[in-house]
């Protein structure tokens, strides 16, 4: 429930203070990503249906996917599908995964690598209502859709009704040479 947005903000600020030292260094290093250079518009990513959907062992993919703190959630805006009958990379029963998405670049604390995360919305039912999470690292305004989490990304699905969001790993971010 979004009965108090302040709770979510406060929780995130507390977390951000705790992680500030490492995250600041990280932020400076990933201006350019796997998807595009700093000067190029990032294109929406079409990946739904790809991959085997099998999660990595917990030791390599640490954290609680039902928590806003979970490392893959660094640029998410919506309900965590892990709280809605789905998982961090699978939509809940009866929903449709959006084939186009926005992407984020999140650091996995287990291996220190920066991963490109695709935030696919699960669509066709009303908002899940559980585990709202809004984090905006490298989120950019609507004029750059590929990194804009303000869109309802239930685009190309049978219904634009937004339910929740999954966090798919697309690959490890690399800096163009």
């Amino acid at each position: 429930m979004i009965t108090n947005w302040l709770d979510a903000i406060t929780e995130r600020m507390t977390r951000s203070v705790a992680q500030r030292t490492s995250r600041r260094g990280f932020l400076g290093s990933v201006g350019a990503t796997l998807i595009g250079g700093a000067a190029l518009p990032l294109l929406p990513v079409a990946r739904a249906g790809g991959g085997d959907g099998q999660p990595a062992p917990p030791s390599q993919d640490p954290g609680d996917p039902t928590s806003c703190d979970y490392w893959r959630n660094c640029s998410i805006d919506g309900y965590l599908c892990s709280c809605c009958g789905g998982s961090m990379n699978s939509c809940p029963p009866g929903t449709d995964m959006s084939p186009v998405t926005w992407i984020g670049t999140c650091r996995n604390p287990a291996d220190g690598k920066d991963y490109i995360i695709s935030y696919n919305d699960c669509c066709g039912k009303n908002s899940c209502g559980a585990c709202f999470c809004n984090r905006n690292e490298r989120d950019r305004p609507l004029y750059r859709p590929g990194t804009a989490n303000d869109y309802n990304w239930c685009v190309g699905t049978k219904s634009i009704a937004y339910h929740c969001t999954v966090t798919l790993i697309l690959g490890v971010a690399t800096t163009p040479s």
Binding site: N134, D139, A161, Y162
Partner: protein
């Protein structure tokens, strides 16, 4: 039993002495004054938890009781976009419906409501069903300067602007955008859009809604280093676009195409060390005097641009100076300034209520709560 008997006798006795209340007329429905008072505001509730069922609530924020505050409402479906006419007694809502609620046949329309009755008086089909569904802004649906056209932002995810002839109630054209978004009214019958490469494109249209001329500005900002918020205020044809890092880019939208204006730092030198930055869901507002209102937060860094903040700063954009810092009673996420000579500052706070401040003094006046709102993330001063 004895008490009941006494009460019953009292009722009979009293009834014999007092005149009967008149019989109420069945079917009375109120209408609203025209024009609306300048300080009224449309509160847009996107109903984040059930977006099918958003609503626009017309509110008098100066009133002290709920009975006086709540003036009326209508529905707005699936994160609608909203625009107001100043020359016709109409408002417009770009929205999306399905034949079976959240499923079935999709139909995107602009619903036209009349201001006195808040009734739908026309429906303009957005053929192709490309309407953008996104967190609400003030420029996903916009009126041209002469109010003959409406501009509706489309996203499929290819981006374009639907051109609607208001008088004909018809979608008459669609202008493809070169990786750009939103429609900022420009000149008499045109619009400008911000682009992913840090530029801006302007289109001027003819009376039929066809493109008469186009102009592209060279890139003038770095989207990664210091992005322009796509949520400016436009006052007297001048666009004021804050940036993530606390600068203000002025863009002149009065002519046929956008012209870059001044760019200056909103944060005085002494406060820059504290990393004060703009941020929020709808972080900007302007009053009739042209003063700019902006939600600000300290300790800003990458990713804090939607956090909202504990203060609203007020700027004289002509003099490029800060007039005031208003400390908010409760953390703010979205703001709006009302019209008229004595503007109010309205703040959607983190508890999803709306705090009302005297915009000149910054003094908190009241909190609007329990008026049926859930996620009132954007407000539009009534016109």
């Amino acid at each position: 039993m004895r008490a009941v008997l006494v009460a019953w006798l009292g009722l009979i006795t009293g009834g014999a002495l007092a005149a009967d209340l008149p019989v109420d007329k069945v079917g009375t429905v109120l209408t609203l004054p025209q024009p609306y008072p300048a300080h009224w505001v449309w509160v847009q509730d996107i109903a984040f938890e059930h977006m099918l069922d958003g609503k626009m609530i017309l509110v008098d924020p100066r009133a002290t009781t709920l009975r006086e505050q709540f003036k009326g409402m209508f529905n707005s479906s699936n994160i609608a976009a909203f625009a107001q006419s100043t020359t016709r007694p109409e408002v417009y809502v770009a929205e999306t419906f399905y034949s079976r609620g959240n499923r079935g046949q999709r139909s995107d329309v602009i619903t036209v409501y009349d201001k006195p009755n808040l009734r739908p008086i026309a429906e303009i089909p957005l053929t192709g069903n490309k309407r953008a569904s996104a967190m609400p802004g003030r420029h996903a649906l916009a009126m041209s300067g002469d109010e003959s056209l409406l501009f509706a932002y489309f996203f499929t995810p290819a981006t374009s602007i639907g051109i609607i002839d208001v008088a004909r109630r018809a979608l008459v054209n669609e202008v493809s955008l070169p990786s750009c978004a939103m429609a900022y009214p420009t000149g008499k019958r045109g619009f400008s859009s911000l682009c992913a490469n840090g530029s801006m494109v302007s289109f001027q249209l003819d009376a039929a809604g066809k493109v008469a001329n186009t102009k592209v500005l060279d890139p003038f900002f770095d989207v990664d280093a210091d992005a322009l918020f796509e949520k400016p205020v436009i006052a007297n044809g001048m666009g004021y676009f804050p940036t993530f890092n606390g600068n203000l880019q002025v863009i002149d939208l009065r002519g046929d195409h956008a012209v870059l204006g001044a760019r200056w730092n909103l944060v005085p030198e002494a406060e820059r060390k504290q990393n004060w930055r703009p941020g929020g869901a709808m972080l900007t507002g302007a009053d009739d005097a042209g003063h700019l209102y902006l939600i600000m937060h300290p300790d800003g860094k990458e990713g804090t641009h939607k956090d909202g903040g504990p203060e609203v700063w007020v700027f004289d954009v002509a003099k490029q100076t800060r007039l005031q810092r208003i400390t908010l009673k409760t953390w703010g996420l979205s703001i709006e300034a009302t019209g008229g000579p004595e503007p109010l500052l309205l703040v959607t706070n983190a508890e999803m209520n709306i705090d009302v401040y005297d915009a000149r003094t910054g003094k908190h006046q009241r909190t609007l709560a329990h008026f049926g709102q859930e996620t009132p993330l954007i407000m539009h001063a009534a016109r």
